[in-house]
C-alpha cells in the first residue's frame, strides 16, 4: 500500500476536512488538524491492515509566521512504510492533545518537545522539563529565544577580555 491508498482509507474513515495529503513534498505525509490527531493515531495503530506499531520520531518545530509544528514519524513493519504526520498550532495557542495514550514512547518525546520548543501537550500525564533544569525560563529551540546573561550566578556569555591580548 502506498501513501495514496492509505489516504483513501483514512478519508473513508474520517470524512473530508481536517486531514490533507501533502503529496508534493520530498517525503509525502499527512497534515492533520489537532482535533483529529488522537483518533487518527489510534486508527493507524490498531487497524489490522495498517498496524503502525511504532512512533519512530517526534519533533517540535518553530516555523515562520508563528507556526509551531509537531512532526510525527510513524512506522509500520507490516507495510514497510514510514508515514510523516504534521500538526500545526499557533504561538498564541500552542496546545495539541497528547498521543502518549496510544504510543507510550510519545511520553518522553512530548516532554522533550515541550521543553525545547514549548508546545503544550494537553492530557499528558507528566508534562515537565526533561533536558533543562526545572527553573529554566523560555524554550531554547524557538527562533526568538535569547539566552539570559547568567543562570544562578553562572555567566552564560564568554568574557571577551581574554581575547584582548591579540590586539
Amino acid at each position: 500500500m502506498d501513501i495514496q491508498g492509505l489516504f483513501d482509507l483514512v478519508k473513508r474513515e474520517f470524512g473530508d476536512g481536517g486531514i490533507e495529503l501533502l503529496a508534493d513534498r520530498p517525503q509525502p505525509g499527512l497534515q492533520v488538524a489537532r482535533e483529529k490527531i488522537v483518533d487518527l493515531s489510534r486508527f493507524l495503530k490498531e487497524t489490522p491492515e495498517l498496524r503502525f506499531e511504532m512512533l519512530t520520531s517526534l519533533a517540535g518545530l518553530d516555523l515562520p509566521e508563528g507556526v509551531l509544528r509537531t512532526s510525527y514519524h510513524l512506522y509500520s513493519f507490516k507495510l514497510d512504510l514510514l508515514l510523516p504526520l504534521h500538526v500545526d498550532v499557533t504561538r498564541e495557542d500552542p496546545k495539541t492533545p497528547t498521543i502518549s495514550g496510544v504510543w507510550p514512547s510519545a511520553d518522553w518525546y512530548e516532554r522533550e518537545s515541550w521543553d525545547l520548543v514549548g508546545i503544550v501537550y494537553e492530557g499528558h500525564p507528566d508534562l515537565r522539563r526533561i533536558m533543562l533544569p526545572e527553573d529554566w525560563e523560555g524554550h531554547p529551540l524557538r527562533k526568538d529565544f535569547v539566552e539570559k546573561e547568567s543562570y544562578h550566578g553562572i555567566p552564560t556569555q564568554r568574557e571577551r577580555e581574554w581575547l584582548s591580548w591579540q590586539k
Binding site: T56, A59, F77, I130, M131, L132
Partner: protein, 373 residues
C-alpha cells in the same frame, strides 16, 4: 520482637555512579532491596546540539555529530551524511562507499565491545572487560590510521570520506579480523556461556515484542525481543544491499525471548556479522578505483523536510532535516536509540532488585550523550 519499620525509602543513584554509563540519575523508591518505583532523570549532558545545527552549514555540522554518540562516532557521522545526500541528491564515489562501510562496521565492533565488556564489568566480572577493551584498542588504532582520531573521528564527509586508506592498511585490517574471531570465541568460553553469568542475566528484565515496539526501541534492543528488523537490510543505504550478512534476533536460549542475556548474546553475534561485512567490503575496496570524496563546498538542500534513518551501534539513528532552501537548516532533530531505551527503564525496573537495575542499564547499552544530545 520489635516492630520493623516498613516505609518506602527514597534512594538516589547517580548522576556520577560507576554503573550508570555516563551522567544519568535515577531516583529510586525502594522496599528493602526491591525497587518500588524508578524515575530516570536525564539532561546532565544536554549541549543543545540541535540548536547549534541551526547556525551551521550542512558540512560544518559534521564534527558535532561525533559528540552525539562518542562511542560509535562514525555511525553518527554516517547518519548525517546519508541524510544530507539523500535529501540533496549527492553522489558518493564507490571507493568512498566501501571505506564508509568498513569504518562504520569497525566502529560498531568497538562499540559493541564496550557494551558487552562493561556489561560484564557491571555484573562483577572485571577481567572480560579488559579482554574486550584489548580488542577495541586495535579497532581504534585502525581508525586512527584512517583519520587521525581515536574517539571523535569526523571521518565521513558529505559526498564521501575525508581520506583514503594508507598503504598496507587493508592487510592490517585483515590481520585484525583473523585474530578477532578466535578472540571472540575465547570471550564466549570465558564469559558468555559461563554458568554464573547465564543465571545472572537470563530471565531478567524481559521486554516483550509489543513493549519494544510501543516504547520505540531500536537496533539490538528491538532485535533482542525477537523482531527481525535492521536498517541496513530493511531501509537500506549506501552499498549495504550488496553485502551478504544475517540479522540475528533474540531466541531466548537462556530463558525468555527479550531478557538481558538475549541482548548480550545478540551483540556478540552482530560482531561476527560485522566481521563478515568488513571482509567482503575490503575485497571490493581493493578492486575499486577512483577518488573517495565528491567534494562540494556549498550545499543547499531543496525546500521541505526529510527524515532519514541509518543503523548505528545503538540502533536506528534518524536525522530529521527541515530546510527552507538556504545554506542553513531550519531545524535538525536527531532521533537516537538510547533516548527510547532510557524511557522504558521506568516500566522495566518496577519490582526488580536494585542489582538488576544495573543489569538493565548495561544490557540496553545506554550512552549518556546520545540521550541528552
Amino acid at each position: 520482637m520489635a516492630e520493623v519499620k516498613t516505609d518506602l525509602m527514597t534512594l538516589n543513584m547517580g548522576p556520577v555512579h560507576p554503573s550508570t554509563h555516563g551522567v544519568i540519575r535515577f531516583v529510586l523508591q525502594t522496599d528493602g532491596e526491591i525497587i518500588h518505583r524508578c524515575v530516570p532523570d536525564i539532561g546532565y549532558l544536554h549541549r543543545s546540539i540541535e540548536k547549534i545545527a541551526e547556525n551551521l552549514e550542512y558540512y560544518q555540522f559534521m564534527p558535532f555529530t561525533d559528540r552525539v554518540d562518542y562511542v560509535a562516532a562514525i555511525n553518527a557521522n554516517l547518519g548525517w551524511a546519508v541524510a544530507v545526500e539523500r535529501f540533496g541528491g549527492i553522489e558518493v564515489p564507490e571507493r568512498g562507499e566501501w571505506l564508509r562501510i568498513i569504518s562504520a562496521e569497525l566502529v560498531r565492533i568497538g562499540s559493541h565491545l564496550v557494551a558487552v565488556g562493561s556489561n560484564s564489568g557491571d555484573m562483577g566480572a572485571v577481567t572480560p572487560f579488559l579482554h574486550a577493551l584489548r580488542e577495541r584498542e586495535v579497532t581504534n588504532d585502525l581508525i586512527e590510521e584512517l583519520c587521525g582520531a581515536r574517539l571523535t573521528h569526523n571521518y565521513i564527509r558529505i559526498g564521501g570520506v575525508s581520506f583514503d586508506a594508507p598503504t598496507g592498511w587493508i592487510d592490517k585490517c585483515k590481520r585484525f579480523l583473523d585474530n578477532f574471531e578466535p578472540a571472540l570465541d575465547e570471550f564466549d568460553r570465558l564469559l558468555t556461556f559461563n554458568k554464573i553469568f547465564r543465571h545472572r542475566l537470563g530471565n531478567v528484565a524481559v521486554i516483550t515484542e509489543r513493549d519494544a515496539k510501543d516504547f520505540g526501541l531500536v537496533g539490538p534492543n528491538l532485535r533482542g525481543s525477537g523482531v527481525r528488523w535492521d536498517c541496513r537490510k530493511d531501509d537500506t543505504y549506501g552499498l549495504y544491499p550488496e553485502m551478504k550478512f544475517e540479522v540475528p534476533v533474540g531466541e531466548g536460549l537462556m530463558g525468555t525471548v527479550g531478557d538481558c542475556w538475549d541482548r548480550f548474546w545478540l551483540r556478540i553475534q552482530e560482531m561476527r556479522q560485522s566481521v563478515h561485512i568488513i571482509r567482503q567490503a575490503l575485497d571490493r575496496l581493493e578492486a575499486a578505483t577512483g577518488s573517495v570524496w565528491n567534494e562540494k563546498r556549498v550545499i543547499k538542500l531543496p525546500e521541505g523536510e526529510y527524515y532519514v534513518r541509518t543503523e548505528s551501534a545503538r540502533g536506528e539513528m534518524g536525522y530529521y532535516i527541515v530546510s527552507d532552501g538556504g545554506k542553513l537548516p531550519v531545524r535538525v532533530k536527531i532521533r537516537t536509540g538510547s533516548f527510547s531505551a532510557m524511557s522504558i527503564i521506568e516500566k522495566l525496573a518496577r519490582g526488580v532488585m536494585i542489582a538488576d537495575l544495573v543489569a538493565i542499564i548495561a544490557s540496553l547499552d545506554i550512552v549518556a550523550p546520545e540521550i541528552d544530545r
